[in-house]
Symmetry: C2
Subunit: 231 residues, 2 copies
């Protein structure tokens, strides 16, 4: 009979705020209370409108995917592979280190990467694959045709993990290791270094004949990664 519409507005505010808070803190650390307070609504609203924190998170992702997926792969398309590599690395690092101006999607993506909620596994691959492919193409362009698929992936790992230091190392530790404050200028120089370092690395992989003189035995793989996904 009676159809009030004012609830929609609350729901909307909640969803939007959830995007922001989840993007800022990640699924695990974002508290329902945080979101509600920041949205200016009652704690009970989450369950009233979404049933649970989990579904709120999923809906937040969906909302961001539909409305905010800015072109992060962006303008990396033109120019020589070398230039593209440099730009790609810069973009990566920028996403990893940028302050408040970074897009919702990038941060949500990043937080999910750092410690996964385990709720996005379906969509996850579709999201990262285009990015991976682009970097792989760039690497292939530099390494040349003689490098096998595995070599490309090795290089991909080398590069991505250099960039990920901004995510996996605490800022204070990074400053300790570099013995100076992590100002934007320093980040820029580090990005440049990574580009140079990686360019040379890729080229070396491209020119190498296979087979190495020394290769002692290695241990067996054991998982040591971070926190388990939420239940």
């Amino acid at each position: 009979m009676t159809k009030r519409e004012d609830g929609k507005e609350t729901r909307r505010r909640l969803l939007i705020t959830a995007c922001e808070v989840f993007a800022e803190k990640g699924y695990r650390k974002a508290k329902v209370a945080d979101i509600c307070i920041q949205a200016g609504v009652n704690v009970a609203s989450v369950n009233y409108y979404f049933g649970s924190k989990q579904t709120l998170y999923k809906e937040a992702w969906q909302h961001v995917l539909e409305n905010f997926q800015e072109p992060v792969l962006a303008d990396t398309a033109g120019g020589s592979p070398q230039r593209r590599l440099r730009r790609h690395i810069q973009t990566l690092i920028q996403n990893f280190t940028a302050g408040g101006d970074i897009g919702l999607f990038s941060r949500l993506y990043l937080m999910e990467m750092v410690n996964p909620s385990g709720l996005m596994q379906d969509a996850w691959h579709e999201i990262i694959e285009p990015r991976r492919r682009e970097l792989q193409d760039i690497i292939r362009g530099i390494a040349g045709p003689d490098v096998g698929e595995l070599g490309i992936r090795f290089c991909e790992l080398s590069i991505v993990n250099q960039c990920r230091m901004f995510v996996t190392i605490k800022n204070s530790d990074l400053e300790y290791m570099l013995d100076q404050p992590l100002k934007p200028d320093l980040i820029k120089r580090l990005a440049d270094h990574i580009a140079d370092f990686s360019l040379a690395g890729i080229r070396a992989v491209g020119t190498r004949r296979d087979g190495h003189p020394e290769a002692p035995a290695a241990g067996c793989g054991t998982s040591l990664a971070g926190d388990p996904p939420d239940p």
Copy 2:
């Protein structure tokens, strides 16, 4: 008057087991109950003998430092910088990936690195500094005299963060990215790759004139690192 000695044995078992469990799970995830069960003693024993979980952890570290600090820097001393670099990387990765046979110290060290308890800050620097210096020396040997201190540290970061992928990326994700199971052989090849890649990277840094043609603006630094230390 009465001096029972059987308590000493319990305390000893507790301490030893604590070393193992802390080494396996890290401070946060290791539960007092875990340790006690594994040691075959009552839960109350921890507080009876050590007062708290915190002091047990500190004593465990101390015990390991005194008795188990195997020479992890090991035999990296001899040979050309190139060979030393390769061996250093192999050792690092071996420590990061090895299974049950890895030393207590290495794993404890590793766990503290991955998510710090915040209880070891004093001893921490003294522990890692020798390792850092060794790698830096190797890098300097390869890069040559023209590379400044910052360049050396950049290279250090590049290398360490490539090796740290085994710690910062879940094993399953690594396998997904490489599209094959993470067998010891694959780890060995990846270690070789990292050595080659890095060697070329360092050399490139050594030969480069400073100044880069393209360098767009970068974002400002923002902490995105993992869990905060325990209270």
